[in-house]
């Protein structure tokens, strides 16, 4: 899965590393700002 992504990133190793970091950061931001706020009020963790 990660090898597949790595092969599709453009440029040399430095460029690919930068792209990968950007991609991971985007996923983390999406999780933190959208997915987790939604999940935290739909999972029964500390219901009251």
């Amino acid at each position: 899965m990660y090898a597949w992504i790595w092969r599709r990133l453009p440029g040399g190793p430095a460029s690919r590393t930068a792209w990968l970091a950007l991609l991971l950061a985007a996923v983390a931001v999406l999780l933190w700002l959208v997915v987790f706020p939604w999940a935290s009020v739909h999972l029964p963790i500390d219901p009251a």
Binding site: M1, A28, W32, F36, P37, I45, A48
Partner: protein, 216 residues
């Protein structure tokens, strides 16, 4: 076989990282979200109380919209600066922003039972210390009408999650006619679980009207 193993392994590691990130969100993210909301509520209530606008809403049950803040709760034994805005409703999306008033229970100062539920953990851990309340501890509720002082009557009780009797106008005795004005604070126990609830009860011992604002 190898590719399947690799994909499975990568998926598991990815899942583990996401779960770890989610735990971090539960600790810090929810606290940040709640404190942002609390800051907003505090300024909203401050101007509302100063203008006296919400006086008309008091004593008229059913008029508060879900998620609307209408009072502050202060408990000095939790710390001198411990204060949260109470919102209407106890759904998880309301409790994510602050302690919530249980719909259908009385308003602050009314005869009967003013019930407030709050998170033990997450969302700034508002009710973390509720199980440590003791008889004699004071709870202040600030509304547009003034400040109500309740005194906790004893050690908090542990009840099953479905037990709604403690929300009755006379806690523990549904259907009975209330004589006293009470408060009930509810939170989860043990922390991080929905196994049971901890309930602390108090009675109204005083109230002070908000000083009338000079017109002009």
């Amino acid at each position: 076989m190898r590719p399947y193993l690799r994909v499975t392994g990568e998926s598991l590691v990815t899942f583990g990282v996401i779960v770890a990130l989610f735990m971090a969100y539960m600790f810090w993210g929810t606290a940040e979200r709640a404190s942002d909301a609390q800051r907003r509520f505090a300024s909203e209530l401050g101007s509302q109380f100063a203008s006296g606008l919400s006086l008309a809403l008091l004593g008229r049950p059913g008029r508060l919209a879900l998620g609307q803040p209408f009072a502050f709760i202060r408990i000095p034994s939790f710390g001198r600066h411990w204060r949260f805005a109470i919102v209407q409703g106890t759904g998880l999306s309301q409790l994510a922003l602050g302690p919530g008033h249980v719909p259908g229970t009385q308003r602050p100062g009314q005869r009967g039972n003013f019930a407030v539920a709050g998170h033990r953990v997450t969302a700034g851990n508002p009710f973390w210390n509720v199980p440590r309340l003791r008889g004699g501890d004071l709870v202040y509720i600030d509304t547009a009408a003034g400040t109500y002082t309740y005194r906790i009557t004893g050690r908090p009780a542990r009840v099953p999650p479905g037990d709604t009797a403690m929300l009755a106008p006379v806690p523990g005795r549904p259907g009975e006619r209330p004589q006293r004005r009470r408060i009930t604070l509810i939170t989860c126990d043990p922390a991080w679980s929905g196994t049971s609830r901890v309930v602390a009860t108090g009675v109204l011992i005083g109230q002070a009207a908000r000083p009338a604002r000079a017109e002009g």
